[in-house]
Symmetry: C2
Subunit: 329 residues, 2 copies
């Protein structure tokens, strides 16, 4: 099996200080590999990068329509949001509409990454809640589907009807049986697949049409992400800023250095995994691939924060650069 | 040249989710390589791991004694502290003793990593200062030496007498000319060397005796670190907790995945660099080497936070483990 390929490098002075290796796959409309770096058969956890797959049963089952979910709520179901008031309030209201409350979530509490809300909680001596967890929208989606199915409250158990539907959708879209699952930071099972499988699933989203319920659900989720970049992550974050910069691409990160992108205009899907789990490497790498595919402007401010990005000292002087590795992107 | 060697792995469920590669060298009393993983000739920036070398001219020049510096102040000169009140107040008083103030520092401001002080600044709507910068003790040491030498205020310029003396000491202890420097986050030049060079320098510290001013200065700095683990980093941090757990070893981290250790009882020095710059990998790897050398208890709580360390979800359940890679440590 091929070794991981260098993805990104940190330079300081005339020396390459650190280097990140990993895997990347670009799939065309039929799921075929158009380009690959590293090992397309490497098995990974997609982590939060597959939230649009985890939200698929919510939509295709009719649960989303039965509960009158808005496009913004579908974007939140696919989000790793930064727990700003914007996100937390929307999830709180959604739970209220279901006749549920924050205690019904099983994601656990997480301090908001949004600076304004984080500082405000500290000043009020208030503890962060489960609605601030970056996965709370996904969990509200799980609860909506569980209620629609009349299933029990432990919706993160791997044998719960919600997770069984997630697994079935996941294996259908990736095109390979999942070799197993681990538990994510939010307690939900996260199914493993190959790099090729994850990129193939994204190409399926990119080519979804109106032929059946699954395809229509995929189109709705992709559109929801592209139409609501701020809900999918938050101010200053990579998914939000890169989606705003492209305008036509759904982009999603996952913990431990994963990124995916769905390019509906080209029928293309892609996946990146930094083998060491580094977020900075995955952000640089996904930007490099989006530039390669002609959908991201290399001179855009959102690009330059992550790709050929200056590294600054504590007095804001440029002392280094994060850039794609030679032969990548 | 040998490839980087796997150092640490993150497991989730039955799958290795992420892996960190890098270099590690253990040197004996004569600077000879006792054990090595990866490439001993790999050129790296030691970053803050070499602060005891950067503090050497301060002591061996007589500046430390001329200004009556305490052992605690020498520990602060070697520190990457978390900016707790303990550290910031001591650096502020030190600057006052020199007839200087916080504005004479050139390290730049940095939010304290100490939670109590960080929260207190947020509640007071106060901006962090330069004394909170993790390198402020090193910079107070540079200012002390500059004053002793009657040199100018731009003590981080590579041609300043302070940095010239640092470079000379660095090249003497590492045993090889430095191929160049980059600027650190605190604006000071950071001289590059090989992994073997950095480990050899630590073995020099470990074997220092009373024969000359340089050796005596090295002994004083090593003892200062071992006697004041809380000043070298802070509550809950790896350097502090691992030094407390060993009791006899000086241990120091540097940004971008560097760790060094000085074992005076064994005349041994070692260096670790995670090639991707990951702190978690370097912490796991240095713990593995200290266990191998018989100076760290594998069952100590400080060890188990970093080596075979549980990874927990947001509800505190164990969902994975960070452990040394097979064949390492």
């Amino acid at each position: 099996m091929p070794d991981p390929h260098p993805l990104a490098e940190l330079w300081r002075g005339d020396l390459r200080e650190s280097v990140h290796v990993g895997h990347a796959v670009i799939c065309g409309p039929d799921g075929e590999v158009l380009d690959a770096w590293g090992d397309p058969e490497a098995v990974i956890y997609p982590r939060s990068s597959c939230k649009m797959i985890q939200a698929l049963p919510l939509v295709e089952s009719g649960a989303a329509d039965a509960f009158g979910l808005s496009e913004a709520q579908l974007a939140l179901a696919c989000a790793s949001h930064e727990g700003a008031a914007l996100h937390a309030d929307a999830v709180g209201a959604w739970l209220g509409d279901l006749g549920l409350g924050e205690d019904d979530l099983l994601c656990g509490p997480e301090p908001p990454r949004d600076k304004a809300l984080k500082f405000s909680l500290i000043r009020e001596h208030a503890a962060p809640g489960q609605v601030h967890n970056n996965c709370s929208g996904k969990h509200a989606g799980f609860l909506t589907l569980a209620k629609h199915l009349g299933a029990g409250p432990d919706y993160v158990a791997p044998d719960h009807p919600v997770q069984q539907r997630v697994r079935a959708a996941f294996e259908d879209l990736t095109g390979v049986p999942s070799p197993g699952y681990g538990f994510d930071g939010c307690s939900a099972p996260n199914f493993a697949t190959t790099m090729h499988g994850l990129a193939r699933a994204m190409a399926r989203f990119a080519t979804a049409d109106e032929t059946d319920a699954r395809d229509r659900a995929m189109r709705r989720l992709t559109c929801a992400m592209i139409d609501h970049p701020l809900l999918v992550a938050g101010e200053g974050r990579a998914c939000t800023e890169l989606m705003e910069a492209t305008g036509t691409v759904a982009i999603k990160t996952g913990a431990e250095g994963v990124f995916v992108a769905i390019l509906p205009d080209k029928g293309i899907g892609l996946a990146v995994k930094a083998a060491d789990g580094a977020r900075r490497a995955a952000e640089c790498a996904v930007a490099a691939l989006l530039i390669r595919l002609g959908v991201l402007d290399p001179d855009h401010a959102a690009t330059r924060k992550r790709w050929n990005a200056p590294v600054r000292n504590r007095r804001a002087a440029e002392v280094g650069m994060l850039r794609p590795a030679p032969g990548f992107g």
